[in-house]
Symmetry: C2
Subunit: 158 residues, 2 copies
DNA sequence: GTAAGATGGTCAACGTGGTTGACGAAATAG
DNA sequence: CTATTTCGTCAACCACGTTGACCATCTTAC
Protein backbone atom coordinates (compact mmCIF):
# COMPACT_ATOMS: atom_id res chain seq x y z
CA UNK A 1 0.00 0.00 0.00
CA UNK A 2 2.18 2.81 -1.29
CA UNK A 3 -0.57 5.28 -0.49
CA UNK A 4 0.46 5.42 3.15
CA UNK A 5 4.19 4.99 2.78
CA UNK A 6 5.98 7.04 5.46
CA UNK A 7 8.32 8.30 2.73
CA UNK A 8 5.40 10.06 1.03
CA UNK A 9 5.96 13.83 0.88
CA UNK A 10 3.08 14.86 3.10
CA UNK A 11 4.08 12.56 5.91
CA UNK A 12 7.52 14.08 6.35
CA UNK A 13 6.47 17.53 7.45
CA UNK A 14 4.46 16.65 10.57
CA UNK A 15 6.92 13.93 11.55
CA UNK A 16 9.85 16.31 11.27
CA UNK A 17 8.10 19.03 13.25
CA UNK A 18 7.31 16.53 15.98
CA UNK A 19 10.85 15.18 15.88
CA UNK A 20 12.29 18.67 16.22
CA UNK A 21 10.01 19.50 19.12
CA UNK A 22 10.65 16.21 20.86
CA UNK A 23 14.39 16.59 20.42
CA UNK A 24 14.38 20.00 22.07
CA UNK A 25 12.12 18.87 24.90
CA UNK A 26 14.06 15.69 25.54
CA UNK A 27 17.34 17.62 25.58
CA UNK A 28 15.80 20.18 27.92
CA UNK A 29 14.62 17.61 30.42
CA UNK A 30 17.85 15.65 30.32
CA UNK A 31 19.61 18.89 31.24
CA UNK A 32 17.03 19.80 33.91
CA UNK A 33 17.40 16.36 35.47
CA UNK A 34 21.15 17.01 35.69
CA UNK A 35 20.50 20.39 37.31
CA UNK A 36 18.37 19.09 40.15
CA UNK A 37 14.96 18.90 38.50
CA UNK A 38 14.45 15.24 37.61
CA UNK A 39 10.79 15.46 38.62
CA UNK A 40 9.95 18.16 36.09
CA UNK A 41 7.91 16.72 33.19
CA UNK A 42 7.23 18.36 29.84
CA UNK A 43 3.70 19.28 30.80
CA UNK A 44 4.84 20.96 34.00
CA UNK A 45 6.65 23.68 32.12
CA UNK A 46 3.45 24.71 30.39
CA UNK A 47 1.60 24.74 33.66
CA UNK A 48 4.24 26.74 35.56
CA UNK A 49 4.35 29.18 32.68
CA UNK A 50 0.56 29.47 32.73
CA UNK A 51 0.48 30.08 36.46
CA UNK A 52 2.84 32.98 35.97
CA UNK A 53 4.53 35.36 38.40
CA UNK A 54 1.35 36.71 39.88
CA UNK A 55 -0.32 33.38 40.59
CA UNK A 56 -3.79 32.28 39.57
CA UNK A 57 -6.70 30.14 40.59
CA UNK A 58 -7.36 26.64 39.33
CA UNK A 59 -10.36 27.83 37.33
CA UNK A 60 -8.41 30.56 35.58
CA UNK A 61 -5.52 28.17 34.96
CA UNK A 62 -7.95 25.79 33.29
CA UNK A 63 -9.15 28.56 31.03
CA UNK A 64 -5.61 29.54 30.07
CA UNK A 65 -4.69 25.94 29.23
CA UNK A 66 -8.00 25.11 27.60
CA UNK A 67 -8.83 22.35 30.08
CA UNK A 68 -11.52 21.95 32.73
CA UNK A 69 -11.12 23.45 36.17
CA UNK A 70 -11.16 19.94 37.61
CA UNK A 71 -8.25 18.85 35.43
CA UNK A 72 -6.39 22.03 36.29
CA UNK A 73 -7.01 21.37 39.97
CA UNK A 74 -5.62 17.85 39.78
CA UNK A 75 -2.57 19.04 37.88
CA UNK A 76 -1.96 21.67 40.54
CA UNK A 77 -2.23 18.95 43.19
CA UNK A 78 0.57 17.01 41.54
CA UNK A 79 2.79 20.07 41.12
CA UNK A 80 2.19 20.97 44.76
CA UNK A 81 3.18 17.44 45.76
CA UNK A 82 6.55 17.78 44.04
CA UNK A 83 7.13 21.27 45.40
CA UNK A 84 6.76 23.43 42.28
CA UNK A 85 3.53 25.13 43.24
CA UNK A 86 1.83 26.15 46.47
CA UNK A 87 -1.74 27.03 47.37
CA UNK A 88 -2.56 29.98 49.58
CA UNK A 89 -5.87 31.29 50.87
CA UNK A 90 -7.21 34.47 49.35
CA UNK A 91 -8.13 36.77 52.23
CA UNK A 92 -10.46 38.76 49.98
CA UNK A 93 -12.46 35.75 48.77
CA UNK A 94 -12.83 32.63 50.90
CA UNK A 95 -13.82 30.51 47.89
CA UNK A 96 -10.58 31.08 46.03
CA UNK A 97 -7.32 29.22 46.54
CA UNK A 98 -4.48 31.18 44.99
CA UNK A 99 -1.94 29.02 43.18
CA UNK A 100 1.63 30.34 43.21
CA UNK A 101 4.98 29.20 41.86
CA UNK A 102 7.37 28.29 44.69
CA UNK A 103 11.04 29.23 44.75
CA UNK A 104 11.84 25.72 43.54
CA UNK A 105 9.36 26.18 40.68
CA UNK A 106 10.87 29.54 39.78
CA UNK A 107 14.29 27.92 39.73
CA UNK A 108 13.04 25.27 37.30
CA UNK A 109 11.50 27.93 35.10
CA UNK A 110 14.74 29.95 35.09
CA UNK A 111 16.84 26.93 34.17
CA UNK A 112 14.35 25.94 31.47
CA UNK A 113 14.65 29.35 29.90
CA UNK A 114 18.45 29.28 30.02
CA UNK A 115 18.58 25.77 28.58
CA UNK A 116 16.19 26.63 25.76
CA UNK A 117 18.34 29.63 24.90
CA UNK A 118 21.41 27.41 24.79
CA UNK A 119 19.65 24.84 22.60
CA UNK A 120 18.59 27.53 20.18
CA UNK A 121 22.21 28.67 19.99
CA UNK A 122 23.21 25.10 19.15
CA UNK A 123 20.71 25.07 16.30
CA UNK A 124 22.01 28.42 15.09
CA UNK A 125 25.58 27.09 15.14
CA UNK A 126 24.61 24.02 13.15
CA UNK A 127 22.26 25.62 10.63
CA UNK A 128 23.19 29.28 10.70
CA UNK A 129 21.28 32.00 12.50
CA UNK A 130 19.43 33.06 9.33
CA UNK A 131 18.03 29.60 8.74
CA UNK A 132 16.80 29.22 12.30
CA UNK A 133 15.21 32.65 12.07
CA UNK A 134 13.65 31.73 8.72
CA UNK A 135 12.33 28.51 10.20
CA UNK A 136 10.73 30.45 13.03
CA UNK A 137 9.28 33.00 10.63
CA UNK A 138 7.76 30.32 8.44
CA UNK A 139 6.23 28.55 11.40
CA UNK A 140 4.84 31.83 12.70
CA UNK A 141 3.14 32.21 9.36
CA UNK A 142 1.67 28.73 9.25
CA UNK A 143 1.05 27.75 12.86
CA UNK A 144 -2.34 28.33 14.35
CA UNK A 145 -2.70 30.30 17.54
CA UNK A 146 -4.57 27.43 19.16
CA UNK A 147 -1.51 25.25 19.63
CA UNK A 148 -1.55 25.63 23.39
CA UNK A 149 -4.85 23.86 23.86
CA UNK A 150 -4.20 20.56 25.59
CA UNK A 151 -7.72 19.21 25.27
CA UNK A 152 -7.42 17.04 22.18
CA UNK A 153 -8.47 13.51 23.11
CA UNK A 154 -5.80 11.08 22.14
CA UNK A 155 -2.96 13.46 22.80
CA UNK A 156 -2.94 14.01 26.47
CA UNK A 157 -5.64 11.62 27.46
CA UNK A 158 -9.22 11.92 26.59
CA UNK B 1 10.53 37.38 36.28
CA UNK B 2 11.82 38.22 32.85
CA UNK B 3 14.00 35.11 32.91
CA UNK B 4 11.08 32.92 31.91
CA UNK B 5 9.27 35.35 29.63
CA UNK B 6 7.63 33.43 26.77
CA UNK B 7 8.99 36.07 24.41
CA UNK B 8 12.54 34.99 25.24
CA UNK B 9 14.36 33.70 22.15
CA UNK B 10 14.83 30.10 23.25
CA UNK B 11 11.18 29.63 24.08
CA UNK B 12 9.97 30.44 20.59
CA UNK B 13 11.55 27.53 18.76
CA UNK B 14 9.93 24.63 20.64
CA UNK B 15 6.61 26.44 20.85
CA UNK B 16 6.58 27.10 17.12
CA UNK B 17 7.53 23.54 16.27
CA UNK B 18 4.72 22.27 18.47
CA UNK B 19 2.32 24.80 17.01
CA UNK B 20 3.20 23.73 13.47
CA UNK B 21 2.78 20.09 14.30
CA UNK B 22 -0.47 20.64 16.16
CA UNK B 23 -1.84 22.73 13.34
CA UNK B 24 -1.17 20.01 10.78
CA UNK B 25 -2.57 17.29 13.02
CA UNK B 26 -5.66 19.27 13.95
CA UNK B 27 -6.31 20.09 10.30
CA UNK B 28 -5.82 16.46 9.37
CA UNK B 29 -8.28 15.18 11.94
CA UNK B 30 -10.86 17.82 11.15
CA UNK B 31 -10.70 16.62 7.54
CA UNK B 32 -10.74 12.93 8.52
CA UNK B 33 -13.81 13.53 10.67
CA UNK B 34 -15.51 15.04 7.63
CA UNK B 35 -14.53 12.01 5.54
CA UNK B 36 -16.09 9.41 7.83
CA UNK B 37 -13.32 8.92 10.37
CA UNK B 38 -14.38 10.93 13.41
CA UNK B 39 -13.10 8.18 15.73
CA UNK B 40 -9.54 8.37 14.46
CA UNK B 41 -7.27 10.04 17.04
CA UNK B 42 -3.75 11.39 16.48
CA UNK B 43 -2.16 8.40 18.21
CA UNK B 44 -4.06 5.96 16.04
CA UNK B 45 -2.29 7.06 12.90
CA UNK B 46 1.07 6.18 14.44
CA UNK B 47 -0.22 2.82 15.51
CA UNK B 48 -1.81 1.94 12.15
CA UNK B 49 1.39 3.01 10.44
CA UNK B 50 3.43 0.85 12.80
CA UNK B 51 1.21 -2.17 12.22
CA UNK B 52 1.86 -1.85 8.50
CA UNK B 53 0.58 -3.77 5.52
CA UNK B 54 1.87 -7.12 6.62
CA UNK B 55 0.49 -7.05 10.14
CA UNK B 56 2.39 -7.63 13.37
CA UNK B 57 2.06 -8.95 16.86
CA UNK B 58 1.43 -6.85 19.94
CA UNK B 59 4.92 -7.50 21.21
CA UNK B 60 6.57 -6.41 17.99
CA UNK B 61 4.27 -3.39 17.79
CA UNK B 62 5.41 -2.42 21.26
CA UNK B 63 9.03 -2.62 20.18
CA UNK B 64 8.40 -0.48 17.11
CA UNK B 65 6.62 2.19 19.15
CA UNK B 66 8.99 1.98 22.09
CA UNK B 67 6.27 0.98 24.57
CA UNK B 68 5.62 -2.19 26.55
CA UNK B 69 3.84 -5.13 25.00
CA UNK B 70 1.02 -4.65 27.50
CA UNK B 71 0.49 -1.05 26.45
CA UNK B 72 0.61 -2.10 22.81
CA UNK B 73 -1.95 -4.82 23.50
CA UNK B 74 -4.35 -2.39 25.13
CA UNK B 75 -3.96 0.08 22.29
CA UNK B 76 -4.73 -2.69 19.82
CA UNK B 77 -7.84 -3.53 21.83
CA UNK B 78 -9.13 0.00 21.43
CA UNK B 79 -8.37 0.10 17.72
CA UNK B 80 -10.10 -3.25 17.28
CA UNK B 81 -13.13 -1.90 19.14
CA UNK B 82 -13.49 0.98 16.67
CA UNK B 83 -12.89 -1.24 13.64
CA UNK B 84 -9.43 -0.15 12.50
CA UNK B 85 -7.56 -3.31 13.42
CA UNK B 86 -8.39 -6.99 13.67
CA UNK B 87 -6.73 -9.91 15.42
CA UNK B 88 -6.31 -13.26 13.71
CA UNK B 89 -4.83 -16.50 14.93
CA UNK B 90 -1.45 -17.50 13.57
CA UNK B 91 -1.74 -21.08 12.33
CA UNK B 92 2.01 -21.55 12.60
CA UNK B 93 2.29 -20.43 16.24
CA UNK B 94 -0.57 -20.78 18.69
CA UNK B 95 0.89 -18.21 21.03
CA UNK B 96 0.81 -15.40 18.52
CA UNK B 97 -2.19 -13.22 17.66
CA UNK B 98 -1.54 -11.45 14.37
CA UNK B 99 -2.72 -7.86 14.32
CA UNK B 100 -3.87 -6.60 10.90
CA UNK B 101 -5.23 -3.34 9.53
CA UNK B 102 -8.85 -3.72 8.42
CA UNK B 103 -10.26 -2.25 5.22
CA UNK B 104 -11.65 0.60 7.30
CA UNK B 105 -8.21 1.15 8.79
CA UNK B 106 -6.59 1.11 5.36
CA UNK B 107 -9.14 3.68 4.20
CA UNK B 108 -8.22 5.94 7.11
CA UNK B 109 -4.54 5.54 6.34
CA UNK B 110 -5.10 6.37 2.66
CA UNK B 111 -7.12 9.46 3.46
CA UNK B 112 -4.52 10.55 6.01
CA UNK B 113 -1.79 10.31 3.40
CA UNK B 114 -3.83 12.26 0.85
CA UNK B 115 -4.73 14.93 3.38
CA UNK B 116 -1.14 15.32 4.56
CA UNK B 117 -0.05 15.72 0.93
CA UNK B 118 -2.68 18.41 0.44
CA UNK B 119 -1.65 20.22 3.63
CA UNK B 120 1.97 20.20 2.53
CA UNK B 121 0.88 21.74 -0.76
CA UNK B 122 -0.90 24.46 1.17
CA UNK B 123 2.30 25.22 3.07
CA UNK B 124 4.22 25.27 -0.22
CA UNK B 125 1.70 27.69 -1.72
CA UNK B 126 1.94 30.01 1.28
CA UNK B 127 5.70 29.89 1.85
CA UNK B 128 7.11 28.67 -1.43
CA UNK B 129 8.26 25.14 -2.17
CA UNK B 130 11.93 25.98 -1.50
CA UNK B 131 11.21 27.23 2.01
CA UNK B 132 9.18 24.19 2.93
CA UNK B 133 11.93 21.99 1.57
CA UNK B 134 14.55 24.00 3.47
CA UNK B 135 12.49 23.70 6.63
CA UNK B 136 12.36 19.94 6.19
CA UNK B 137 16.07 19.76 5.47
CA UNK B 138 16.93 21.75 8.56
CA UNK B 139 14.73 19.60 10.74
CA UNK B 140 16.24 16.46 9.28
CA UNK B 141 19.60 17.83 10.33
CA UNK B 142 18.59 18.71 13.87
CA UNK B 143 15.92 16.22 14.82
CA UNK B 144 16.88 13.09 16.66
CA UNK B 145 15.92 9.73 15.27
CA UNK B 146 14.24 8.85 18.55
CA UNK B 147 11.23 11.09 17.99
CA UNK B 148 8.84 8.19 17.58
CA UNK B 149 9.29 6.91 21.11
CA UNK B 150 6.06 7.48 22.98
CA UNK B 151 7.34 6.50 26.39
CA UNK B 152 8.14 9.85 27.91
CA UNK B 153 6.16 10.18 31.14
CA UNK B 154 4.10 13.31 31.08
CA UNK B 155 3.50 13.29 27.38
CA UNK B 156 1.29 10.39 26.70
CA UNK B 157 0.64 9.29 30.25
CA UNK B 158 3.09 7.37 32.14
C1' DG C 1 11.99 -37.50 24.10
C1' DT C 2 11.96 -34.79 27.78
C1' DA C 3 13.49 -31.08 30.76
C1' DA C 4 14.74 -26.28 30.62
C1' DG C 5 14.44 -21.92 28.77
C1' DA C 6 12.75 -18.20 25.78
C1' DT C 7 8.71 -15.93 23.89
C1' DG C 8 3.76 -14.22 23.24
C1' DG C 9 -0.35 -12.72 25.42
C1' DT C 10 -3.03 -11.42 29.25
C1' DC C 11 -4.43 -10.02 34.04
C1' DA C 12 -3.97 -6.92 37.89
C1' DA C 13 -2.66 -2.81 40.18
C1' DC C 14 -1.22 1.58 39.61
C1' DG C 15 0.10 6.57 37.86
C1' DT C 16 -0.76 10.66 34.90
C1' DG C 17 -3.56 13.63 32.29
C1' DG C 18 -7.98 14.30 30.61
C1' DT C 19 -13.73 14.33 30.83
C1' DT C 20 -18.68 15.22 32.85
C1' DG C 21 -21.97 15.74 36.59
C1' DA C 22 -23.17 17.05 41.21
C1' DC C 23 -22.77 19.82 45.12
C1' DG C 24 -21.59 22.93 49.18
C1' DA C 25 -19.77 27.32 50.53
C1' DA C 26 -19.08 31.98 49.59
C1' DA C 27 -19.68 36.15 46.84
C1' DT C 28 -22.78 39.08 44.16
C1' DA C 29 -27.20 40.95 42.20
C1' DG C 30 -31.91 42.02 42.63
C1' DC D 1 -33.12 38.77 52.19
C1' DT D 2 -33.44 35.78 48.49
C1' DA D 3 -31.78 34.23 43.92
C1' DT D 4 -27.98 33.47 41.11
C1' DT D 5 -23.28 32.93 39.95
C1' DT D 6 -18.67 31.41 40.92
C1' DC D 7 -14.87 28.49 43.07
C1' DG D 8 -13.29 24.33 44.54
C1' DT D 9 -13.83 19.59 45.23
C1' DC D 10 -15.66 14.78 45.00
C1' DA D 11 -16.85 10.79 42.26
C1' DA D 12 -16.94 8.07 38.29
C1' DC D 13 -15.05 7.36 34.07
C1' DC D 14 -11.71 7.11 29.75
C1' DA D 15 -7.10 7.04 27.19
C1' DC D 16 -2.50 5.82 27.52
C1' DG D 17 1.40 4.45 29.89
C1' DT D 18 4.09 1.45 33.65
C1' DT D 19 5.75 -3.15 36.38
C1' DG D 20 5.14 -7.67 38.03
C1' DA D 21 3.16 -12.16 37.67
C1' DC D 22 1.54 -15.90 35.19
C1' DC D 23 0.14 -19.53 31.67
C1' DA D 24 0.60 -21.54 27.29
C1' DT D 25 3.39 -22.52 23.65
C1' DC D 26 7.45 -22.92 20.87
C1' DT D 27 12.52 -23.90 20.83
C1' DT D 28 16.77 -25.63 22.37
C1' DA D 29 19.91 -28.80 24.68
C1' DC D 30 21.00 -32.97 26.44
Amino acid sequence: MATSDPARPGFQLPLLLLAGFRTLIDDLHAELARQGHPELRPLHGFVLQAVGVHGTTATELGQRLGISKQAAGKTVDRLVAVGYLERVYDPSDARRRLVRVTEHGADGLRRSAETFDRLREQWAEALGEERVAALEDDLRTMASANWFRLDVPGWFGG
